[in-house]
């Protein structure tokens, strides 16, 4: 296995107020079976040895399920290989490559340090309506509550969103429509979520607007960058559901 020697252009910024800048590092002797984050671990070890501050980045599970890792790699969140950064392997790169590493950028994601941003805004959208109020009990027996296969699949696909925020970071308008629409759709499609559908849609969209995300222009960058293959069909559905919810609210179908 050939090891890689890379040049990294990394965004460094001490805190939210500090002036950020790109710094250049050499990543030497990186095994190509390393993940992107492991590559950064190796670089960081060297930085610590030299008595320098290591590069700060977010991570947790490192197996592609928690949505905590971020990084915009060569201008594309998660590197655009349909996996999370922790699942991105160095074999995707060639010896001698220069790699640009920046945080997930958006005004709604304030930068904390280096490559770490605050994605609380996404949690706030969930808090506004991404839940079911009633007690639904434990998992029902299979086929107890009939759900069409197509519907179940669509709900499951939407529920695969790990809330990483790559959709926002990749969007030319920093819109959170893909995230919001996936979170709304996975509940709206299922029987447990349907009683509160209109209320949920209005609350989540209004919260999304209030948090300073941009407006979708149907460029579908989000879908291309999403590590979980969330489809922009969810956005079309949210647009549809929003119209219905507004009509319902206007004539007072629900309080």
């Amino acid at each position: 296995m050939a090891n890689l020697n890379l040049t990294l252009k990394v965004w460094r910024q001490e805190n939210a107020q500090a002036q950020g800048r790109i710094e250049t590092y050499k990543a030497k002797n990186i095994p190509d079976e390393a993940s992107f984050l492991e590559m950064l671990d190796i670089v960081n070890e060297e930085l610590v040895h030299e008595g320098k501050e290591p590069i700060v980045f977010d991570h947790d599970c490192r197996e592609g399920i928690c949505g905590m890792c971020s990084l915009t790699i060569n201008g594309v969140p998660h590197g655009g290989k349909k996996v999370t950064t922790c699942q991105l392997h160095m074999r995707q790169f060639k010896d001698g490559d220069t790699i640009w590493i920046e945080p997930f950028r958006a005004q709604a994601f304030p930068l904390l340090r280096d490559l770490m941003v605050d994605r609380t805004a996404l949690d706030n959208i969930i808090a506004a309506g991404g839940f079911v109020d009633i007690r639904t009990g434990s998992a029902p027996n299979a086929n107890n509550m009939p759900v069409r296969k197509k519907t179940a699949d669509a709900a499951f696909d939407a529920a695969a969103c790990v809330g990483c925020g790559a959709c926002v970071a990749s969007c030319k308008n920093s819109s959170a429509m893909l995230f919001t629409s996936a979170k709304a759709a996975h509940l709206n499609l299922l029987p447990q979520g349907q009683p509160e559908k209109n209320k949920r849609v209005l609350a989540m969209v209004r919260q999304m607007d209030a948090l300073g995300f941009g407006n979708c222009t149907n460029q579908y960058e989000c879908e291309a960058a999403c590590p979980k293959g969330i489809s922009v069909d969810n956005i079309a559905k949210l647009n549809r559901d929003y119209m219905i919810a507004c009509a319902a609210e206007a004539v007072g179908v629900f309080a």
């Binding site: 252009k9 965004w11 790109i22 915009t72 060569n74 201008g75 594309v76 655009g80 640009w100 920046e102 950028r105 958006a106 005004q107 709604a108 990749s170 030319k172 308008n173 920093s174 819109s175 429509m177 969209v205 209004r206 999304m208 607007d209 300073g212 995300f213 941009g214 407006n215 979708c216 222009t217 149907n218 460029q219 579908y220 960058e221 879908e223 291309a224 960058a225 489809s231 922009v232 069909d233 956005i235 079309a236 559905k237 949210l238 647009n239 549809r240 559901d241 929003y242 119209m243 507004c246 609210e249 206007a250 004539v251 007072g252």
Partner: protein, 266 residues
């Protein structure tokens, strides 16, 4: 007296004589509104509150942009159909071009109708432009620039909608000034040929229509997504329709200055 009782009294009053009918009906209306006032206000409040929230929300404004955009697309089709009459008739041999009759025809429609159409179109365009610019400003402010930008899928036309839109708007102002304000319906054909004989004028026209192509190419398929009528199954079809629509419409528009420059229309 309670409003409801007043209503009945008014009805009685109406029945007394025909002259009282009008007064009675008026009073009845007033009292009826008075009786239902609370409900009327509640309903209106709900509707107006929601409407205000809708037209200030991200999705609501996008839907208005899509609806006005769709109207403008329909206008393009109508306008194009009218323009194609320029190829009818045989002005070289003394048979006037059909476009003269078409232009004169447009001007013989009742003034109120002509102005209703003009003002309606202007209002639609105004809503479209104001909302898109407002959305664009928000989008720019919501974003933080990357040092190294990367793009996976966004088309050039989708990323230049404001630029092509502004180009279309500038063209529109010039176009109206040149052919509507300074035009003469009876001499429409000659006026157009004279205008397009200038390569600068033709060039500007062709450039603007190319911008229109880019705008429509993204815009048409975008309408379906914004209105929630799109799925991954039909999205490629909408893209094909958008490109074909753009090619046919813009190609046909451009054919006119090209025909003039080539001497086919003279």
């Amino acid at each position: 007296m309670r409003p409801l009782q007043s209503c009945w009294l008014c009805l009685l009053f109406c029945c007394c004589s025909r002259k009282n009918l009008v007064f009675g009906a008026c009073f009845f209306g007033v009292f009826a509104v008075e009786y239902f006032r609370k409900d009327v206000i509640a309903i209106m409040n709900d509707i107006i509150t929601t409407a205000c929230k809708f037209v200030t929300s991200s999705i609501g404004r996008k839907i208005l942009v899509a609806l006005t955009g769709a109207c403008l697309l329909l206008f393009l089709v109508g306008h194009l159909a009218g323009n194609m009459t320029i190829y009818g008739g045989d002005p070289g041999n003394g048979v006037p071009s059909w476009i003269d009759a078409y232009a004169t025809g447009l001007h013989t429609m009742p003034a109120w109708l002509l102005w209703a159409i003009r003002l309606g179109l202007a209002a639609i365009l105004l809503i479209h432009v104001v909302l898109t610019l407002a959305l664009k400003i928000e989008n720019v402010n919501a974003r933080t620039q990357y040092q190294k930008e990367g793009t996976l899928k966004a088309t050039l036309s989708s990323r230049t909608m404001v630029l092509t839109g502004i180009m279309i708007f500038c063209f529109l102002v010039f176009h109206l000034w040149q052919l509507t304000v300074n035009g003469d319906p009876a001499n429409c054909y000659q006026h157009i040929v004279d205008a397009f004989t200038s390569p600068i004028c033709s060039g500007f026209y062709i450039l603007a229509i190319c911008c229109l192509f880019m705008h429509v190419r993204h815009g048409l398929q975008s309408v379906f997504q914004t209105l929630g009528l799109s799925t991954r199954k039909v999205r490629p079809l909408y893209n094909i329709i958008a490109v074909l629509f753009g090619l046919v419409v813009c190609g046909a528009f451009i054919s006119i200055p090209v025909a003039v420059l080539c001497g086919i229309l003279k």
